[in-house]
Amino acid sequence: MSSPATTRLASLRGTNNEGVLALILIVLVVIMTFINSDFLSAGTLFAILRSSIVPTVLALGVLIVIISGGIDVSFPAIAIFSAYTTVVLVQGSGVDAGVLVVLAISLALGALLGLVNGGLIARFKLPTLIVTLGTQGIFKGVLLAYVGSRYIADLPLGMRTFSTMSVLTVPDGGENTSLHALVVPVIVLCLVVNALLRNTMFGRGVYAIGNDTEAARRAGFSVMKLQVILYVVAGVLAAFGGVLHVTLTRSANPQDLLGTELDTIAAVVLGGASIFGGRGSVLGTVLGVLLIQVINNSLILMGIPSAWQRTAVGLLLVIGVGVQAISARRASRRVFAHREVVAQA
């Protein structure tokens, strides 16, 4: 059981099956390269990274909530609410605001909406799915009814400058392809959230309340405070995702992102986070998002109608979670068998 080879394999596998996920990703890339030699190119890589920018940021917020044992379905509403309202406010002020002003306003809005979620959940101990379902309706409704439902094409200067900025340009088959600059802040953000979850008391607290709220309380964590803070953080992350989305699409459409909540949750769960809380990692989440983006991209390259994307992601989710469920059951059976052996001896 504990020979060096197997332990090394186990450590490669990762605590949340990140290794398995990475392996699937690599196998997929190899297969795709055989099928279509165009696949393995800087252009494809950059396209996949660009399309992963917004899903990754949104997934990070969802990850924190899921680790804490909750489910948030209001984050797309928070994302587009914050971003769109910021654009409207900045346009209304008449001043062409810079990037810092835009970020400050939208992140503050995200924090405020997250505070509403966190306050309701922590103060009244309500089921997270139900609360966020309710706030989703309220946020969406307030945005469309009272902030605006108009498509806005001219963005504030702070966003415009970033829309087409690239950080890396390489020649690719005669043409130049470039990597979008916004990949950089997203990578930094992943590292920050990773450190936040692994190395801070807040992060340990989030895992603790996800594992066992009562145990966390007795261990001295202030569950209420932690819950409020974590939903504020999730709100800020959602708002950042919204700003990135508006920047990348170069327009503010208040109907965007809404309805994508389940896709993002699927990516996070695929990345090894347990829907019951207490388990999950930034690395797994990023791999989950990348896997979905690679599959979407592969289907297009293979000439399969994009309509199959939903089915593919659904199948992947069912298979991924199904394998986890079956192996968990086997593991628990092994533990029982082991216990019986010990009891008999």
Partner: protein
């Protein structure tokens, strides 16, 4: 009293204890019934309140028979989907795939009908009942797949049905090519227009389905196992209940209800598409919870869910009449849901604090 007890101490005392116990259980029963019916009463008050508010605001338009009929025509499909979700919530699960299943049923019916009708219109009409049954079977099959994933494979219901929702929806998109299909059996279209004694036939479908479901939940062994499964899965397992079979039947029934909703989709409008009612998923969860269903399982009433459906339809139609947008309706949905949950939480905490006192007071005489 005292000299009698010396004569026959045991039997007298036994009778006293017995009668005391009977009173005790009757009182506890009444208390628990009041508690059980609380959700229904509250919903009834809310329904009447919503009706009264909009009647007061615009009596002419709101009480117009046409408007009331519109409410009764729009409500059934949502009500059936909410009942489907409520049923799975009773076992402590959830079924996110109901709308996708309903759309698959609608698409199946529309496709079969138009392909047969292309060759022979009369034959297609004659085969209409069969086509509808095939559509219903598609719903049952979708539910069966969910049931297998939940019971056999052991995937958490919310994830299993999230996955199948994507799969069914993907199949529907590919099948229709993202377009809206036109064409439905005349039989269904006529049925959709039928009005019996001022009540649209579609609404009667909801009433019938609700009655059947209420009987299944409250009067059958399957219903009892479903409730126990949700209230305490461990106890259910150790009382010899076949958990897997209960869950599979629950999800098949949920699929059937969704399929029935799909039939109503095509009866109301002879069209079918993959993205019809995409906003229904969250709406029907709101309705189920508002109707008093405990999302953690073990408790919920059919009547509560039907009343919640009506309330939200009344609010939706009323908002239209007083010229509020569908966005305001979204706000109202969310606000109603959260306010009800908060009130529930506050009063149930209060009640939990009081419960030991009541039972102590009742218990002392028997001691």
């Amino acid at each position: 009293m005292t000299d009698q007890t010396t004569e026959e101490p045991t039997t007298r005392r036994g009778a006293a204890v017995e009668s005391n116990r009977r009173i005790d259980s009757a009182v506890m029963n009444a208390i628990s019934r009041v508690h059980v019916q609380r959700g229904v009463w509250r919903m009834l008050v809310l329904t009447v309140l919503a009706f009264a508010i909009f009647t007061a605001a615009k009596p002419r338009v709101f009480l117009n028979p046409l408007n009331l009929q519109n409410i009764a025509i729009a409500a059934p499909e949502i009500g059936l989907l909410a009942l489907a979700i409520m049923l799975t919530m009773l076992t402590g699960g959830i079924d996110l795939s109901v709308v996708a299943i309903a759309n698959l049923t609608a698409i199946t019916i529309s496709t079969l009908y138009t392909s047969v009708a292309a060759g022979n219109a009369g034959l297609a009409e004659g085969m209409a009942p069969l086509i509808v049954l095939v559509g219903l079977a598609v719903g049952a099959l979708g539910g069966y797949i969910n049931g297998l994933l939940v019971s056999r494979v052991g995937i958490t219901p919310i994830l299993a049905t999230l996955g199948t929702m994507q799969i069914f929806n993907g199949i529907a998109i590919t099948w229709t090519g993202g377009k809206t299909l036109y064409g439905a059996p005349e039989m269904l279209v006529n049925f959709g227009r039928t009005v019996v004694a001022g009540i649209p036939a579609l609404f009667l479908v909801l009433v019938a389905a609700a009655i059947v479901l209420a009987i299944v939940i409250n009067k059958t062994a399957l219903g009892a196992t479903i409730l126990l499964q949700g209230a305490n899965p461990v106890a259910a397992k150790f009382s010899g209940i076949r958990t897997g079979r209960t869950l599979t039947s629950t999800y098949i029934m949920s699929g059937l209800l969704a399929g029935l909703a799909g039939i109503l989709f095509v009866s109301r409008n002879p069209t079918a598409s993959a993205d019809y009612g995409s906003s229904y998923v969250l709406l029907v969860i709101v309705i189920a919870v508002l109707g008093g269903t405990n999302p953690n399982g073990g408790f919920g009433t059919v009547l509560g869910v039907v009343l919640a459906t009506l309330t939200l339809q009344i609010v939706s139609s009323g908002f239209n009449i007083i010229r509020l947008t569908s966005y305001d309706y979204a706000i109202a949905q969310g606000a109603i849901l959260i306010i009800i949950m908060v009130i529930d939480q506050v009063t149930s905490r209060h009640r939990r604090r009081n419960v030991p006192k009541i039972s102590n007071a009742l218990a002392t005489p028997t001691e």
